[in-house]
């Protein structure tokens, strides 16, 4: 608690007065406008659209930090580690925190919060009157390079991305502000933590009913590339695989989130 910025205490007090349900903008959370664009799904069936139009929207400049999440659990006791329902968060939820309201040395204030479930991430966003980005929105923002609009041809970004993928998860994560901003001004979409998206497990299921063979199997072995738009985009496969492996109450040591919002 002692590192909590004073303005945060103000938000906290207001939240508590309002019963923890009224949304307040985070005073320091900068939202970046992501221009409208087109998302090309990695995997699709012949009946799915090859390109999904995405309207312009607002996205957090960086992932939600431990300090920010502390304010949330302080205002919303049911999301504290000791009180959260196992329906909504598995037993590893915030396990690296020193206590319910004490992130401690393994969770520095400025580092992205991890070991949070999809339910918890979603509740956080709602608390602020925001939402989680959709897969299409997240991928659109993450498709940018550092210095050019297309990340796939930005060698520096690709190098950093694969270097990150090749490293084990560090015991203590770096401050979210250390991540290099991309062309759109968004930090840490690659190379910091994985991030929840609102429709994390519908990425493979696009609305039509399918047989029992299960779309998820298409990701295994060589079959993973049948119908893929770009079978050389290994990082995209890894994001897709991670999302497909998760259940909504799951938490992992490298999975955080950020919020999005419709443009006013």
């Amino acid at each position: 608690m002692n590192f909590l910025p004073s303005f945060r205490l103000g938000v906290l007090a207001l939240s508590l007065l309002a019963g923890g349900s009224v949304a307040f903008a985070r005073l320091d959370a900068k939202l970046v406008t992501i221009p409208a664009g087109v998302y090309t799904p990695l995997l699709r069936t012949t009946k799915d659209a090859a390109a999904v139009p995405v309207a312009a929207f607002l996205l957090d400049e960086k992932p939600v930090t431990n300090a920010e999440f502390l304010a949330f659990v302080t205002a919303n006791p049911k999301w504290r580690r000791s009180q959260v329902s196992p329906l909504f968060a598995d037993s590893s939820y915030l396990e690296h925190w020193a206590g319910d309201l004490e992130p401690g040395p393994k969770a520095p204030p400025g580092a992205p919060v991890v070991r949070v479930s999809w339910f918890a991430a979603r509740a956080y966003a709602r608390w602020l009157g925001q939402r989680l980005p959709t897969t299409a929105e997240w991928e659109l923002a993450a498709a940018a390079g550092y210095t050019q609009p297309a990340g796939r041809t930005d060698e520096a970004l690709q190098r950093d991305l694969y270097a990150w993928l090749a490293r084990p998860v560090p015991a203590v994560l770096a401050d979210a502000t250390t991540a290099r901003a991309n062309y759109l001004g968004v930090r840490g979409l690659h190379g910091l933590v994985w991030e929840w998206v609102d429709d994390f497990n519908t990425a493979m299921v696009t609305g039509e009913s399918r047989g029992d063979t299960g779309l998820e199997r298409d990701l295994f072995c060589g079959a993973g590339t049948v119908g893929a738009k770009d079978p050389t985009d290994y990082a995209a496969f890894m994001r897709q695989a991670l999302r497909s492996s998760l259940k909504a109450n799951n938490t992992t040591t490298s999975l955080g989130f950020r919020c999005a919002k419709d443009l006013p």
Binding site: F88, Y162, G224, T225, F237, A241
Partner: protein, 513 residues
């Protein structure tokens, strides 16, 4: 409330609105039968009584190059396998580190040994520190994906599925999560042996070796932490092709070993992700190869066996002679330049009938047809004749002696002059003269012997008694140098004599006085 029921966020969103009481009811009813959500959870299998009543065993897992002990049971069992996935930083080569994704902490992953007919309860545990979801496709499994879909496991989670081992054989297992080439390329493969019901022939030593290639951003040997290079993987241009996950994992004190007379079996697999191996042991012939690891009909007397990516073989051989036997992929730039090299060290008594070691080193004139060979003999005869002609020609003989004396002078002025002096007169009462020395010129063989063996004690030279000591030079001078220096001494300062030959020196060098 069991958490494994939580597999559909849409249902759960509704549940959250409806309230926990309803959630409990709803999820309890959907738990066992539901086939929905990402992990395809169907609940524990209901096994028939004859299987439930089988004895339960915990599988023994070993890291390479070790193999779990043979199975001596004559009946099926229920075998519980607990395999943990860890992403670890380890040595790929000296000074080179890599983040390996492993089954059981090693590359290749833990060796699993079961018996045909066993019912295996398989637990795949993905360590919480993992960055990625993983799964396992065991080629020993009959069923969709070889278990891949049923074991798809998020970091910090555990999956369970059951299969019956229907076919005996030696099978590769590997991760099958997209992008598969990267998961395998980071080390996610291993072997599972399903022993035939009648077992395998007993052997003295069993070992576990797997080949795989690594696509690093840096070239071979480039120091530091290396990352996976997607471009090289797609082009199938690996800087490293190695046995057991690292350059040098099977050499030096890490070599596999056996004793002369023992029978050795190697379970050899190829994880890939791309390259096929031409597996060969230099200096051994495989008495038996179970090709493609079907364990029923071996091929016999095989030199090199082809092992496909995602395939395996078992080779057996008796080691008859001691020495170091090199395991290679006989696509040899992989062995020479990329690390695909291991060692089998065999200890014991030599058998020189089977293998003598080097017997003779001789001049070889080249493989030729008989006519060529005859011609070479004739050439040698002619050379001999020319040498004889030269020797008998006084002009040439004189020139030869002169050249020998010049060479001998170089020896003298480097070695002998300090005592006998540059003018050959020696030092009175200390070192005898060579110029005009009656003692020297009286006996040529004695002169050679003195240069080779030295001389201690009084000698009378030109009427003077000199009691001194000359050290032996046989360790310092070659036969030719002794002949040269004596030729010089016998033909300088007014001395006159024939040239000395190296053959004369050689004959005396080998005498013990």
């Amino acid at each position: 409330m069991n958490q494994t029921a939580m597999n559909n966020p849409r249902i759960l969103s509704a549940v959250a609105v409806a309230g926990l009481a309803l959630a409990a009811a709803l999820l309890t009813t959907t738990f066992v039968r539901a086939n929905e959500g990402p992990t395809d959870v169907q609940g524990p299998v209901i096994l028939p009584p004859e299987i439930v009543n089988l004895p339960v065993e915990q599988a023994i897992l070993t890291s390479p190059p070790h193999v779990p002990p043979p199975i001596h049971r004559t009946y099926a069992a229920r075998v519980v396998v607990n395999l943990e996935i860890r992403e670890v930083v380890a040595r790929l080569a000296d000074g080179v580190e890599y983040t390996f994704w492993t089954y059981g902490g090693s590359v290749p992953g833990s060796f699993i040994r079961i018996r045909e007919g066993d019912v295996v309860e398989f637990h795949l545990n993905n360590h919480p520190s993992s960055k990625l979801p993983h799964n396992i496709d065991l080629h020993a499994v009959t069923g969709p994906g070889g278990g891949a879909a049923s074991t798809f496991t998020a970091p910090g989670h555990s999956s369970q599925f059951t299969f019956q081992a229907l076919n005996p054989g030696l099978y590769v297992y590997h991760c099958a999560t997209a992008p598969v080439p990267m998961h395998i390329g980071n080390g996610m493969y291993g072997l599972i042996l399903v022993e035939p019901k009648d077992g395998l022939p007993p052997v003295d030593k069993e070992y576990y070796v797997m080949q795989g290639e690594f696509y690093t951003t840096g070239k071979y040997g480039e120091e530091g932490m290396q990352s996976f290079d997607m471009g090289k993987a797609i082009d199938e241009r690996p800087p490293y092709v190695v046995f057991n996950g690292a350059v040098g994992s099977l050499v030096g004190d890490k070599a596999i070993t056996a004793n002369v007379g023992e029978h050795v079996r190697i379970y050899f697999g190829v994880g890939g992700p791309n390259l096929t191996s031409s597996f060969h042991i230099i200096g051994e012939i495989f008495d038996k190869v179970y090709p493609e690891a079907g364990l029923s009909l071996p091929n016999r007397n095989v030199q090199t066996t082809l092992v496909p990516s995602g395939g395996a073989c078992a080779v057996e051989f008796k080691v008859d002679v001691p020495g170091t036997f090199i395991l290679v992929d006989h696509s040899l730039t992989r062995a020479f330049n990329k690390g695909a090299l291991g060692m089998l060290k065999v200890a014991g008594e030599p058998n020189r009938v089977i293998y003598s070691g080097k017997e003779i080193d001789a001049v070889y004139l080249g493989a030729q047809a008989d006519a060529g060979s005859d011609s070479a003999k004739r050439e040698a005869e002619l050379k001999k004749q020319i040498a004889a002609e030269i020797k008998s020609n006084p002009a040439i003989a004189g020139l030869t002696k002169e050249m020998q004396a010049e060479k001998g002078k170089q020896v003298y002025m480097g070695l002998c002059f300090a005592c006998h002096q540059p003018d050959g007169k020696g030092l009175p009462l200390a070192f005898p003269p060579l110029a005009g020395s009656d003692f020297l010129l009286a006996d040529r063989d004695r002169a050679i012997r003195i240069v080779l063996k030295g001389l201690t004690g009084p000698v009378t030279v030109n009427g003077q008694i000199i009691n001194s000591a000359m050290p032996p030079q046989e360790a310092v001078l070659t036969d030719q140098q002794v002949a040269d220096v004596l030729t010089y001494v016998y033909n300088t300062w007014g001395n006159k004599g024939d040239a000395f030959t190296s053959d004369q020196v050689k004959a005396l060098r080998n005498q013990n006085h």
